[in-house]
Symmetry: D2
Subunit: 137 residues, 4 copies
């Protein structure tokens, strides 16, 4: 699966005094999206963590094109942009109907017992799964 | 409809360093639940706001029984506990499977153009809708 | 010290589309206040945790009297309302100048290695400290 | 003033189940920092808004180098990286003592009555203030 789509509603608590969704909320949605994406391709992140593999965020980039508002029904599109075995980059797009509101990327490292790790060495099934996900939709 | 149920997943951002969902997140879920409940009974809160009726929270009470964790699939049950025409009290329960994790209440006033209002006077359809919702499931 | 006061500014991210502080933010401020209060009386909460004593929130009650807005300079007043050795109740008031905006309470249990504990048994210094804090300002 | 420093404590609610500050919290701190920076140079953002000038975030970039934890006393350094009259870029660094934990940038547009505006045209004092802020510390 090269791309994963999920729908969700904007919560009131996610808005700010400009009447729009606060910009710091989008990374939270991205994280929700990658959780569902990983579940879909067969590697629930909670299972990864319980096997000792963590994937902390080392960078995020977000571009805000148009505002989202309370109760909007949005679509989040998630895909794996790059995967090197030691770094993972996910790409995100947020739409309201067919209007693109926001694009973003998150970069991830991999930790095993608190130390940087190559996924391939100890988590071969996860490595193969991620390698298969790379690419355009 | 005397009771509304909705399911959702715990987001990573909603957890804290104790490894469990932070207690301040539950009121955000309650709000998400009442948004969906009101939509279900035919009064989307966004529509209420656009007609000039706001329903600010004037009190919340939350009791935490057991912790929720990242990625838990939870059920939120919402019902109207009391409605007087000038005050509304909603009741909430959060379950993981059949385990009750949390109960809560939110009390609401009604504002029209920034001033306290009796819903019945200007928003009769909403008044009747809310009056019909009161009660046990 | 029977009462602790702290000042802070409202952050933009803490507001919502009504133009006021979102109600779920106040419990976060209460927690910030009790962290500073405990530091002031000599028991930093981080130190409590590192000694194995956790104090999870088991209930909160918040009453919203008047709204707070972005950039308001607020004063939070914290005091210990009750302490029984197994339960702790803190009381909070939020002011803008001399206008009371919000009152609240949080109830806490005590856990040692994940199980309910009487503070007096293993943490006598903390027990005495908390017992001395009880009361009106 | 080419650079503004502010100190603050990490709140418990800002941590996640990895035991560290959640990555989506840093943009909230950046915003807090630019609020204080603008106040310091004489243009409180609330005053800008009340004069009709909004400065929405159009992009953020954050790089996470080392984790922050609950109760850490952090220093946020803010400066204006670029200012063109229609776009503003702020740069941020977060330190614990002399350890750099995080760097970031936020890009801002300017809106007057909801439409893109050149600051110089209607807000000459703000334009001059921002122009003077540009540069290295």
């Amino acid at each position: 699966m090269k791309q994963f789509d999920m729908q969700f509603r904007v919560r009131y608590a996610e808005t700010d005094a400009m009447g729009i969704v606060h910009h710091a909320v989008y990374p939270v949605w991205f994280e929700m999206g990658r959780t569902e994406y990983l579940r879909e391709v067969g590697i629930p992140y909670r299972e990864m963590e319980s096997r000792g593999l963590q994937s902390p965020v080392i960078a995020i980039h977000v571009r805000y094109l148009k505002p989202a508002r309370y109760d909007d029904l949005l679509t989040l599109k998630v895909r794996v942009a790059r995967y090197t075995g030691v770094r993972l980059t996910l790409h995100y797009e947020v739409y309201r109907d067919d209007v693109l509101l926001c694009t973003g990327e998150s970069e991830h490292a991999f930790l095993n017992e608190g130390r940087a790790t190559a996924v391939q060495r100890k988590f071969e099934d996860i490595h193969e799964m991620l390698a298969r996900c790379v690419g355009e939709a």
